[in-house]
Amino acid sequence: MSVQPINTGRREFLKHSALAGAGLIIGMTLPGRGRAQVPDPDSGAAAFFRPDGSGADFSPNAFVRIAPDSTVTVLIKHIEFGQGPFTGLATLVAEELDADWGQMRARSAPADAELYKNLAFGVQGTGGSTAMANSYNQMRKAGAAARALLVRAAAEAWSVPAGEISVSKGVITHEGSGKRASFGEFAEAASRFEPPEDVTLKSPDQFRLIGTDVPKLDTSIKSNGQAQFTLDVMRDDMLTVVVAHPPKFGATVAGVDAAAARKVPGVADVQTIPSGVAVYARDTWAAMQGRKALKIDWDETGAETRSTKQITADFETLSEKVGDIATDRGDVAGVQSRLAKRLDAVYRFPYLAHAPMETLDCVIQAQGDSVEAWFGSQIQTMDQQAIGEVFGIEPGKVVIHTMYAGGSFGRRATQASHLAREAAEVAKAHGKSRPLKLVWSREDDIQGGWYRPLNVHRLSGGVDDDGNIVAWDQTIVGQSIMAGSAFAGQIKDGIDPTSVEGARNLPYRLPNLRVSLHSPASPLPVLWWRSVGHTHTAYSTETFIDELLEMAGKDPIEGRLELLDEHPRHAGVLREVAKLAKAAGPAPEGRARGVALHKSFSSYVAEIAEVSRGDEGPRVHRVWCAVDCGVAVNPNVIRAQMEGGIGYGLGAILFDAITLEEGGRVRQSNFDSYRSLRIHEMPEVEVAIVKSDEDPTGVGEPGTPPIGPAVANAWRRLTGESVRDLPFVKPA
């Protein structure tokens, strides 16, 4: 296959992109029952993809392949890790193609930014809950174009006007003559025509598949062990590689004694690479045993040696001064003297690991001047560039097979491509052309950095004699995710938009509002974590407004609605969630309910949590959720993403913190010390989707932000305690 050269510099290509709120992933999910192709690592998407349309398949554009047996395969430009692009994007094509859902297939597109860029980023990548939003028209047009060519081929063969031909559920029909055909019968004939320049898309009232719960394409192979993840890629003569990483962030290798490691049976090689010491072995177990036998001296000059306790204290001191201004309207300072009641609060948010179920891994093989890699690449264009840089080859010579990934929650969207880079260094250091599988252990994952940044928020606000909230002053202290990365161009006037999103654009009608930001640097690498800045801004703003409304003697729902007169979609989900909870009857004795509302990634979500006192802290019994994400392409997937977003966020606010001891070592190492929500801790969840004809927006992340503040607001009603120091249950 030909890969388009990418000439843009790594640090340049995102400068002007629309990646505000560069979040992650987690978009929507939709693959379907047993229909996804089991990726074949030997052929992969690259071999499958025929840009010139050669071969048996009808290839009207970069996204649609129609085979003689009438199966329709959609090349999916977004990585599938549970959020649903395989099913969702295939649905868009099937809709306009008037295909039957049973004939639809999906597989990963190759890495080729020219053809498969995210229209919101300008490079190929998944994040910010954009998969559906940026593909909505593109994929529908791809389906409509393919349909037009099939109809033209049928019209010619049957000698009838194209306008008299109809297509429904995969069957092409001419009523007058009674002629019928499948797509496959005209696949070859349709290949002879140029695709139309313009196509007419359906209006929402004509949708037959969009808006229905079509079965996901990848469910069956994910229920019987057949789905192929990176970890499952096995190549002839392959070695498995684990890397010993520095025990402190910013430390480097000073010296290695590998004699004992090399004696471990199965160990084939040991090499020092920029990120640590790599051990190569015939299987994972031998590689891990070899790593244990290494003796490494680390150079800790320049390492982060502060404890998280110290970092938090440093941030608190910073928060006493106004930072770089993100928003300033009215006169926050001037109004202070007129407050009838005043509220001051300091919030402390810990570092969080993403801990996706599949740890980071990558299979790589360098041969001559080309490199092939199989992994859960989330920003393929950046990963191609990183691997190309290490080998000194054109990024276009780097072939990436995007595999199913066992979750991400942001972890695979590394703005520095550190995994791809490490895999490339591992291959380069070994120096042979055999395939190598780099595997991170869970300890590597939990202790490896790239965390949700630790944040301190200081808020002060107050109400006047009439119960109006007249002042809101918020200072945020947190390390910038974008600084020093390819995304740095989006930092304007000192403001990393991902540090203040959700706070600077508070929807409530507040006459005097100021949000400012301090962005202290650290050698500890940080990263977007499911919903990015909203993970902390939703918590501080939605608990703070709840307390101010209570201070003003107002109902949490009615009080919010009074301040949302210019934001009908916010108000819409709030009314909807209130209706759901009301229909369930009053909270039983010993329980309380709390509400939170937050917009992120252009979607609106309100949640109500019902909470009692548990053994360790809050026990969350039920959650009601209302979401407005525009056209609901697959309601079942949207509900699943809300359920999952709620569970993911709940586990974090209840249990999770990455803490550094004095000296800078991470205390947590695995799921025993970094807890995940488990099934007995999962509340019942009821989701309502607000009907909308607006273009679809993301659902992977927006379910997460409201759950923390909804639980906190319920807890305050139940106990009188305002929890501003997370998590609720302190780690041992």
Binding site: T29, Q83, A227, W285, A405, G406, V439, S676, R678
Partner: protein
């Protein structure tokens, strides 16, 4: 060393303390069983040993003797079919990485308790982490499978 896996005898030449997980995956190519933590905390590596769910990541092969080992690839019982059908009917998986382990544990639960309560389900599956938090659907699907088997 001889191992009885999915009804077939396999001869493997591995260190005696090598966990079953890596023998299955790296030596025999049975990749349906997943690695999630390596310390019996997450359940992604769950297999059946003589019908009982076992964490293969902390089970050295030397302890297995003539035990019958069943992996997701060899799952074949009315309970397993009911579980997998129920999983598909309501689209339980998201990323899917933990689901082999979930299915193995749920199948064992249904084999021992044909009509489990929510508490039974929570008790049996509390050792199986799903970071996508598909728990609401797992619970539902186990009930659906039980109903289906009961006719």
């Amino acid at each position: 060393m001889k191992l009885n896996i999915n009804g077939t005898a396999h001869n493997v030449d591995v260190p005696k303390d090598m966990p079953l997980l890596w023998v299955l995956r790296d030596r025999l190519g049975l990749t349906g069983t997943k690695f999630g933590c390596g310390v019996a905390q997450c359940g992604a590596c769950t297999v059946h040993v003589d019908g009982q769910p076992k964490r293969s990541c902390v089970t050295p092969v030397k302890f297995l003797g003539n035990s019958k080992i069943t992996t997701i690839e060899g799952l074949d019982s009315p309970q397993a079919k009911a579980i997998q059908d129920a999983w598909c009917a309501i689209d339980v998986p998201q990323c899917g990485f933990c689901q082999s382990g979930q299915v193995m544990t749920a199948t064992n639960l249904l084999t021992e308790k044909p009509n489990p309560t929510d508490d039974d389900i929570d008790g049996a599956l509390a050792g199986n982490i799903c970071r996508c938090a598909t728990y609401v659907r797992i619970r539902q699907a186990v009930h659906d499978a039980a109903d289906k088997l009961a006719g």
